[in-house]
């Protein structure tokens, strides 16, 4: 019997991997998300040793290796420190679906935040050429009754016109 030739046709199989998730907020992130939902307030936590803010708050200060226990309100306005204008459509692992482009994300130093902490969120602006570091921006909240205790309770940040 002649040797069996290897296949020229190459088989592939497409697959959408999908896993249900139950994400715990923990007390620290929970307090932050509930403040967004119930009070439309952005709460940072503060390191008791070095005094820097973390927003969103995290369990410990990574620099000092101590629990960051105190909370302080920051924002809702702040200064645009850096930003990305995204033209490349990629899948959102929360849905598996491709995102719509372009969109902008922003690192905002919220008023009252200490130690250079910035907060990452979406920036809503149709004229991308307006974007530059140092612009004043503010958080726009989802309306009452529609907030769910999620980061998207802040719909986006927008440029405050007329402020340097």
């Amino acid at each position: 019997m002649p040797p069996k030739p290897l296949s020229e046709e190459l088989i592939h199989r497409e697959h959408m991997a999908r896993f249900p998730q139950r994400w715990s907020t923990g007390p620290v992130m929970g307090k932050f998300l509930k403040a967004l939902r119930d009070e439309k307030r952005i709460m940072a936590n503060v390191c008791p040793r070095c005094g820097r803010s973390q927003v969103p708050p995290r369990e410990v200060c990574a620099v000092c290796r101590v629990a960051a226990t105190q909370f302080e309100e920051v924002g809702p306005a702040g200064t645009l420190r850096n930003f990305d204008v995204v033209y490349y459509a990629s899948p959102d692992p929360v849905t598996g679906q491709s995102r719509e482009v372009p969109y902008a994300t922003a690192y905002v130093e919220l008023d009252g935040a200490k130690g250079g902490a910035t907060f990452w969120h979406e920036l809503h602006e149709t004229d991308m050429t307006k974007l530059r570091r140092g612009l004043r921006v503010r958080a726009v909240f989802e309306e009452d009754g529609k907030r769910t205790g999620a980061i998207t309770d802040i719909k986006y940040f927008e440029i405050i016109e007329g402020e340097a």
């Binding site: 697959h15 991997a17 929360v94 849905t95």
Partner: protein
């Protein structure tokens, strides 16, 4: 201070798309299931051992195994089994179904496949089974729809 009462659980999803490639060795085997309704193994040129599923090399000595394809089965014997009674979205049959290690005639290793067609209580080691091919075949291992007792 944040307290346990501040914590809550968010339900969500994690989802990403994939596209897997069987490779040339795997494709050879899968295409044969689809087009020939035949099951092949690969024979080790020195030891003569026949491996199913096929693989490019013997993991123990790195000998190339892709040169000598031999037909195995379609009958074989059950070398181990379980009856799956819990339900998962990825299972190929409704539960309960038999999941068995099957050593195909001519092979030295067993493959795992599903068994149906009789009272699952009668499933036993040594039982002769035969591959039942699917009518619609797509070059997957489920082109063998299941194994049935001979």
């Amino acid at each position: 201070m944040a307290a346990e009462s501040d914590a809550f659980v968010v339900e969500g999803t994690f989802a990403l798309p994939y596209n897997y490639f069987a490779g040339r060795v795997g494709s050879t085997w899968l295409v044969a299931l689809r087009d020939e309704q035949k099951i092949y193994g690969v024979r080790h040129p020195q030891t003569g051992k026949v491996f199913v599923p096929p693989r490019q090399v013997d993991e123990k000595d790195f000998t190339d195994l892709t040169g000598d394809w031999v037909e195995v089965g379609p009958e074989g014997r059950v070398t181990g089994f379980t009856v799956i009674r819990y339900r998962e979205p990825y299972q190929p049959l409704p539960v309960p179904f038999g999941l068995a290690l099957i050593q195909l005639d001519g092979a030295d290793t067993s493959i795992v496949h599903v068994v149906r067609g009789e009272d699952l209580g009668q499933l036993s080691v040594g039982r002769r089974v035969r591959a039942v091919f699917a009518r619609e075949r797509k070059a997957t291992i489920l082109d063998i729809a299941h194994f049935a007792p001979v």
